[in-house]
């Protein structure tokens, strides 16, 4: 098919246009401001970022080399021992496994299902606005209320187990059985994310040229071939973007766990951020918590670097 050719030529035209636009922006103009002006404008944001971002960033790294477990006021420098202790801690591996489960289960679902919904909603049908509002509602509502609502659905004698009985399925301890609890929590995260990613896909779908669909209709292609040959290749960058964003937010999960399970039963729902929180603010083991924070930082930075330099270049005009 020459569909690929059409797409390629369209993309080429777009990149030409982009470069012209870029040239316009970089055209120098006469200087009307003093030498200090740019720095004065940057100062207020700079102070805030310095105090609440850059200092804490480096302090996290330095704290991770100290031992606070004996005396919180007199930390002892202990080099890499926090990291070594973490590597020998079975709970850490459990926590990493839970985070990995999040990535394996939630990310593929959030990268595909919202796309399917976006394609459905992108048609000329009635009630589109209502559907969008209802599906977007979970995104807006506080995660705490969402987690409480789900905790109520998951109750031992709750409505979900009633449905299980109706379908002659075993009654499940949704949040109390270590085998199921993590999936129950993942469902909440997925449920709250669908509308958000659907809107990202809807915006991307606007950029797919209508002519391509018309060509498909003339060829008599059905729903699936049409979207697999036109839509998916065309919005591949957005699919990749959604994959990285949802991965990053999966690694930052906290509120769901805090409200619903507190990491239990038997650490089965403990995620890395919850474990850091517990070590730092409940056990006051600042060094250990910081070492884990550094590990989290490195993992998230890798994903973010991919995100920024591959998928979101345009957003930052890099």
């Amino acid at each position: 098919m020459n569909l690929k050719c059409i797409i390629k030529s369209l993309l080429r035209q777009k990149s030409k246009l982009d470069s012209i636009v870029l040239k316009c922006h970089t055209k120098p103009m006469f200087k009307y401001y003093g030498k200090m002006a740019p720095f004065l404008f940057l100062l207020p944001a700079g102070i805030v970022l310095f105090i609440f971002f850059f200092i804490p960033f480096f302090q996290t790294i330095s704290l991770s080399f100290f031992d606070y477990s004996n005396n919180i006021y007199e930390p002892i420098f202990n080099g890499m021992s926090n990291y070594l202790a973490i590597l020998h801690n079975p709970v850490f591996y459990k926590v990493m496994w839970n985070t990995l489960l999040y990535l394996i289960v939630a990310v593929p679902f959030l990268a595909t299902f919202p796309l399917f919904l976006a394609i459905l909603i992108n048609q000329k049908i009635r009630g589109v606005t209502l559907y969008k509002i209802l599906i977007y509602l979970p995104v807006i509502v506080s995660i705490v209320v969402a987690a409480i609502a789900f905790k109520w659905l998951y109750a031992q004698e709750g409505i979900l187990n009633y449905f299980m009985q109706q379908f002659h399925l075993p009654v499940i301890g949704w949040l109390t059985d270590p085998g199921y609890a993590i999936y129950s929590v993942i469902i909440v995260t997925i449920w709250k994310g669908i509308g958000y990613y659907m809107m990202i896909y809807l915006a991307a779908l606007m950029s797919v040229p209508k002519e391509l669909y018309e060509a498909c209709d003339i060829d008599g292609a059905n729903f699936w071939t049409k979207h697999l040959t036109v839509t998916v290749p065309h919005i591949m960058p957005t699919i990749a973007l959604v994959t990285t964003i949802s991965s990053i937010s999966a690694m930052k999960i906290f509120a769901e766990i805090y409200v619903m399970t507190k990491g239990g039963p038997l650490n089965s729902t403990k995620t890395i951020v919850y474990y850091i929180y517990e070590k730092a603010f409940e056990n006051l083991d600042l060094g250990y918590a910081s070492a884990m924070a550094v590990i989290l930082l490195v993992i998230v930075m890798v994903f973010s670097l991919i995100n920024i330099f591959v998928f979101e270049r345009g957003k930052y005009n890099l």
Partner: protein, 287 residues
């Protein structure tokens, strides 16, 4: 007759789409519906009854009045308004101030500044929250000093975001340079150009930034649950989570409190819906 048959065909073609969308919509709101239903059930009705009833048999507002009397939800709401309001105002000011030179000015170290701000996107707050807390303590920005300091401590770590700075920078980039040149020829200095000429032109972007910052700040849970010690300083998410401890198994009260706390943000969402579901501001909420 031909026209009629195509209408029928079109309608028939859309039925599976509608079925799927209605199902997903129902799944999206069902947890809230069930919570709402529970909150309206009186003491005479078993909330664990099988089969479950969505429409309460023993309908009552008592759970709402009960939770309203026992918990200072109004106070939590006001606290949330103060925190979200201050966060929005600071983000608008700081982001547009910082976005302007990055879009329009040439200066030494611009690249370094640019990448330093970009770097903040890559580091999750969760990874640096512990030192942020230690610094907040050192600066006495906690509610144990006094309420004002407590509010400042809640707001300052989120007073500016790289997301906001880049959003404003993009907006300034899209304004034609002739606007500034004309203003300068007319005798404006650089601050007047910024304040009187450019800022009014990026109002739509400011609105987008305000709305998404508001939503983010309103739902923030981790930071307030770390710094807050006084119950009178609780924001809505912290207060609602606390309902679980207060009414350990009284799900009627927990449900009523949760529903009350959700009403303001739903009203806000419906009023501002075009910003959320128009598809133009994609990817803004989570920052």
């Amino acid at each position: 007759m031909k026209g009629e048959s195509t209408i029928c065909k079109l309608k028939f073609k859309n039925i599976p789409t509608h079925i799927i969308l209605i199902l997903v919509s129902l799944l999206s709101i069902f947890p809230f519906i069930w919570l709402l239903s529970t909150s309206l059930k009186g003491a005479g009705e078993n909330i664990f009854a099988y089969p479950p009833t969505i429409i309460p048999k023993d309908f009552t507002w008592a759970n709402y009045t009960g939770v309203w009397q026992r918990v200072n939800l109004m106070r939590y709401f006001i606290n949330s308004m103060i925190v979200a309001g201050a966060t929005v105002v600071l983000n608008l000011i700081l982001s547009s101030l910082a976005g302007y030179p990055l879009a329009r000015m040439e200066f030494k170290g611009k690249k370094i500044v640019f990448f330093a701000i970009l770097a903040t996107i890559m580091v999750p707050f969760q990874a640096i929250m512990l030192p942020v807390y230690l610094i907040t303590l050192k600066l006495h920005l906690v509610d144990s000093v006094n309420d004002t300091m407590g509010f400042i401590g809640l707001v300052m770590p989120f007073a500016v975001s790289a997301f906001g700075i880049f959003l404003m920078r993009q907006a300034f980039l899209s304004i034609p340079r002739e606007m500034e040149e004309a203003a300068i020829v007319d005798g404006c200095n650089v601050f007047q150009v910024f304040w009187k000429v450019l800022l009014p032109m990026v109002k739509p972007t400011l609105a987008v930034l305000a709305i998404f910052t508001f939503i983010g700040s309103w739902g923030e849970f981790l930071w307030p649950s770390i710094v807050l010690t006084k119950e009178t300083m609780y924001t809505l998410p912290v207060g609602v989570n606390n309902l679980q401890g207060m009414f350990s198994s009284n799900w009627r009260f927990i449900a009523a409190g949760s529903i009350i706390s959700t009403i303001p943000i739903i009203i806000f969402f419906l009023a501002m819906q075009k910003y959320f579901i128009s598809g133009e501001n994609e990817g803004a909420v989570k920052g």
